[in-house]
């Protein structure tokens, strides 16, 4: 009774009232209770809208582009001259530049990344690992524009010191720097895959008299292979999508060549160049932007799906 009175005095209402009110569902609490899930749903839908937005804008403008330039000319053309009197829109020089810069990057990041992963997961003591890993992560946190500056003002002059025939803008230097940028990504993903190999397997091999090296190459790496391959594929995807380093250090020559000492343009760098001004909306050059972006988007999407497929399909379960 005392309790009842207290609530009564405090709130000027009885518990029955409160219950009735709650049942009516007219107070603020129950309204928020109904509205919040809907609001949260709408918020969550933004990420889907983003995807739809990307696909829709790329697709509609790309279709417009292919009305003006035949699709076969685009994908098989080896000449890209968007600004000339008789413009030609062959995407192969860009795809070539993208692939070559990614190959150079992976030649650096692949071996060094995997060796770093092996060292951190198999050889380093816990203390060494805990000091080195955050330091490597700094490397991943540096903005790409800074790497671009580094490639253009330091690495390229350095290369030209030894090989004067290399051009001032070339695909080699941004490729190498991009490789350094991707090392932490490959190292950390591969290391995760390696550390998840159970210790019992290592101990079994060690007990049979293997050295650590043999354990690494015959037991750990085969067992972690799916994760390592996935990290490579993600690294490639990252290299394909990288923009600022190649834009700054590789120039804008649309060469279709395999000579890495020359300037080449990647798909990303082309987008930067064209959107950077000269293209009035509605012109063919403007639409070519979307066609190239669509190609880039499909490339990276395939790589990302492939990475997920590899790591799921070929995972060794222990």
């Amino acid at each position: 009774m005392a309790l009842d009175n207290k609530i009564d005095n405090h709130d000027k209402r009885s518990i029955q009232d409160m219950i009735a009110k709650k049942k009516n569902g007219k107070n603020i609490t129950s309204i928020t209770e109904k509205v919040m899930p809907a609001i949260l749903f709408l918020i969550a839908a933004v990420s889907i809208l983003t995807t739809i937005g990307i696909v829709y804008t790329l697709l509609t403008e790309t279709i417009e582009f292919f009305k003006r330039v035949p699709i076969m000319d685009f994908f098989t053309g080896t000449v890209l001259k968007p600004l000339s009197q008789n413009p030609e829109f062959g995407v192969l020089p860009l795809i070539n530049g993208t692939i070559i810069s990614s190959i150079i990057a992976m030649l650096v990041a692949g071996p060094i990344g995997i060796m770093t992963a092996v060292f951190l997961s198999e050889y380093a003591s816990e203390r060494v690992r805990r000091t080195l890993k955050p330091m490597l992560e700094i490397l991943a946190g540096i903005p790409t524009i800074v790497y671009g500056f580094f490639a253009f003002t330091f690495v390229t002059p350095l290369i030209r010191e030894f090989f004067p025939s290399v051009e001032a803008t070339n695909i080699l230097s941004p490729g190498l720097v991009m490789g350094v940028m991707i090392i932490p990504m490959i190292a950390s993903l591969s290391e995760d895959a390696m550390t998840s190999v159970p210790n019992a397997m290592r101990e079994g091999a060690l007990a049979l008299g293997s050295t650590k090296l043999e354990v690494t190459f015959r037991v750990v790496i085969p067992a972690a292979l799916s994760g390592i391959i996935a990290s490579f594929v993600l690294g490639i995807s990252r290299a394909i999508g990288e923009t600022m380093i190649v834009t700054i250090a590789s120039g804008s020559s649309k060469n279709f060549t395999f000579d890495i000492t020359q300037s080449m343009q990647t798909m990303t760098a082309y987008i930067v160049e064209v959107s950077g001004g000269e293209a009035p909306a509605g012109s063919t050059i403007y639409y070519s932007l979307y066609a190239v972006a669509m190609t880039l988007f499909v490339f990276t999407l395939i790589m990302n799906l492939l990475a997920r497929y590899v790591s799921r399909k070929f995972r060794e379960e222990y």
Binding site: F150, G241, M303
Partner: protein, 294 residues
């Protein structure tokens, strides 16, 4: 007859151990390689740019003459960009995370959204730039102002903050929310009063990390069309603007014309890296100080 020839074993073992030790040093060198490049990069930038940093450089307007050029406009631009990015990413990111973790029924739709977010995280930043240019700058006709750039950047970093928020919400122990339900709290009350406060340090860490990504990102803004011209200081989110990375970009590509521009770029890089360092240090402090263990 001896089953094991000890001499033979000894001979083989030596070379195997040697190989092991040699490759161990090779692996170590590979690990150090990245750090050496990092050190060279930082030393190089500091040597080139440190002497250019002074009060004038930080507070002056842009100028074509290197001696008088300053980055106040870029600093303000970065600030206004954050004014857009922070609330938008927090609301969208945390809201999505709450929905996926606490409200969505485990099923097709939830895993669809989840896959979608993973795919968005892998889309190159320049593609977001094209989205921003098409939707925000042209279709909605904002022009190349802070708001358009900020919304584009928000979409770009959204996957990072969603994943971070999801992880920290998942880490809140079940018994806390059960206790809250047991006291008669409704679902939203539990989310607002129990789960979000407990997950806050993780969410903050994630949002600071996504913020530092947004501060350092250049490509989407290039596509949106940040002018290289000398524009007045931005005073709000509907003004045209430039940011620190854009300034680095323009000064770097123009350094073949005016050599000192490279030094200005280096000086701006120092400012940018210091800013990012401070942000990340804050994230680490928050993580260590407020992260409760249950």
């Amino acid at each position: 007859m001896k089953y094991v020839d000890t001499n033979q074993v000894q001979k083989n073992m030596n070379s195997r151990l040697l190989k092991n030790n040699v490759l161990k040093s090779v692996f170590f060198l590979a690990t150090i390689f990245g750090l050496i490049v990092l050190a060279v990069l930082i030393i190089r930038v500091i040597m080139q740019g440190a002497s250019w940093i002074n009060m004038d450089f930080l507070t002056n307007k842009l100028s074509t003459s290197p001696d008088r050029a300053g980055i106040m406009g870029a600093i303000l631009g970065t600030f206004w960009l954050m004014v857009v990015v922070i609330p938008v990413t927090l609301i969208l990111g945390v809201g999505t995370a709450i929905y996926l973790e606490l409200y969505a029924r485990k099923g097709r739709f939830q895993s669809f959204v989840q896959t979608n977010i993973a795919n968005l995280a892998g889309v190159p930043s320049i593609v977001y730039g094209i989205l921003g240019m098409t939707i925000f700058v042209r279709a909605l006709d904002f022009g190349n102002v802070v708001l358009a750039g900020g919304l584009t950047m928000s979409l770009l970093v959204l996957p990072i903050i969603i994943v971070a928020a999801q992880e920290s919400i998942r880490a809140v122990p079940q018994h806390l929310s059960e206790a809250s339900y047991g006291m008669g709290a409704t679902k939203w009350q539990t989310v607002k009063n129990i789960i979000l406060p407990a997950a806050l340090p993780g969410i903050l860490t994630g949002s600071i990390l996504s913020l530092s990504r947004a501060i350092g990102e250049t490509a989407p803004l290039v596509v949106i069309g940040i002018p290289a011209l000398l524009i007045p200081f931005p005073g709000g989110i509907m003004d045209r603007f430039t940011v620190l990375p854009m300034q680095i970009y323009y000064w770097t590509i123009d350094s073949s014309l005016v050599e000192e521009y490279a030094n200005l770029a280096a000086a701006t890089i120092i400012v940018l890296l210091v800013l990012l360092f401070l942000l990340n240090a804050t994230a680490i402090v928050i993580r260590n100080k407020f992260q409760k263990r249950y």
